[in-house]
Amino acid sequence: MSAALQHAPGPSLELTNIQAGYGDFQALFGVSLRVEPGEAVGVVGPNGAGKTTLLRVISGLLRPRAGTLRFGGQDLAQLPAHALPALGIAHVPENRRLFPHLTVEENLKVGAFSKAARAHFEQRRDHVYALFPRMQQRRHQLAGTMSGGEQQMCAIGRALMSGPKILLLDEPSAGLAPLVVQQVFALVKRIREEGLTVLIVEQNVAQVLRVVDRAYVLETGRVAAEGRAADLAADSAIRRSYLGGH
């Protein structure tokens, strides 16, 4: 396959003691987290635990109030959000946030906006189409007219257009039918097998623990547990809280 499939291991992402919130409301209380190059890491937890806030902090949409945020040697807290895609950080936001009135291909084009990405547009677009053949069929269709699953794939494809080293996924399974959820996770698996580092936030704990190497359990803005995915899946307390097991 094309060269775009080969992802050199990127730098590691490291969060130390991150505090963040909105106005008077504090969402994160000293969260520390580490994602090694080539790793897939999950962040799970109930609604309102601060999972989305965590991703917003990493991609610069929200400034942390305290703590450090490093990607390789770079201090991310010093950079504006729009500078991060060029560093290799791509964020697939909650609810996908496609541009519904643009075509699939135009959505991909917006994803390749940064200067460095423009040179690779055609190559990466073909790569995305190879990953998601259905996107190629619908390249001239308005994104808003596609099904939820297709939109999720388009959103992931759009994020891949910047040539990321790490992909941040926010609830990729939200609002999708079970069968489609399976497909999305299968894709996430494929993407990481290509060597891309993945940080994925999910409520669908059972599914995500099958895809990632390690996971953090976030509860009311704090890391309540962390460990290898297999260990967490076996942990009785976590099974009780999140997996509906005994």
Partner: protein, 287 residues
Amino acid sequence: MDLLDPFFLEALVNGILLGGVFALPALGLNLVFGVVDVVWLCYAELVMVGMYAVWFLYTQAGWPLWLAFAACLPLVSLLGLLLHLLVVKPLLNQPPINQVLATGGVLFVLQGAATLAFRTDFRSLGVDMPPMEVGEVFVSGTKLAAFCAALLGAGVLWAFLKFTYVGVAIRAIARDREVMPLMGVDPQRIYLIASAVGGALAGLAACLLVVQLDVHPFVGLSFGPITFMICVMGGLGNMLGGFLAAFLMGLIISIGGFWGNTEYSYVIAFLFFILTIFARPRGLFAR
């Protein structure tokens, strides 16, 4: 009545030609509104400045007309940039009405500055192209040329929005501002570009208007309000809607003028606008 009456046909043709002239400022205003989410109340005054620029360079400084036209575009574009940087940008997080009123202040500034610089006399470029006769219908050559230039300008804008990275980002940002940084897009830069392009469109509109209308400091008031109506009728920020509404308004005014006189046809156009908004509060072409 006879639809093939040459005078009626002439009104029809003139309406379409007039629509082309309205279309440019409507496109510019909609572009800025769609991207920056601010109504430039002084948009017609930017056009007025451009008209004075062409008039001054051509009749006073003795430049060739094409060079005056060529200078007008970047000049008004720069004005759009300054407007954004000095007035709009500091107010971006303020309520919309504050932004609109500040640009209303700029309207006074430009009118006042023009009065100071050129007094209130009507200034004419004094160029005219011979009318053309198609069948029994006479068409003003100047208006036809202006119309073609307007269509050309709209076409260039369309290609820019359709095919360039910045153009696609401009269409994207109109729908979802917050997500843009995740695409590596700096919204502030897109605002600047949209303001510059919006200004350039005002500059182009100035070139097309200055050959048809005399310039005076208040000339903006003669086509500014109708431009706002056109944008609202098409749906604020909806470029295609505004483009179509421009022709609708042009036709109403021209055909109204055929039956009555031009003043009443403007009244009809404004009434039509008000009724349209009552019927479709988000514009004729709102989805």
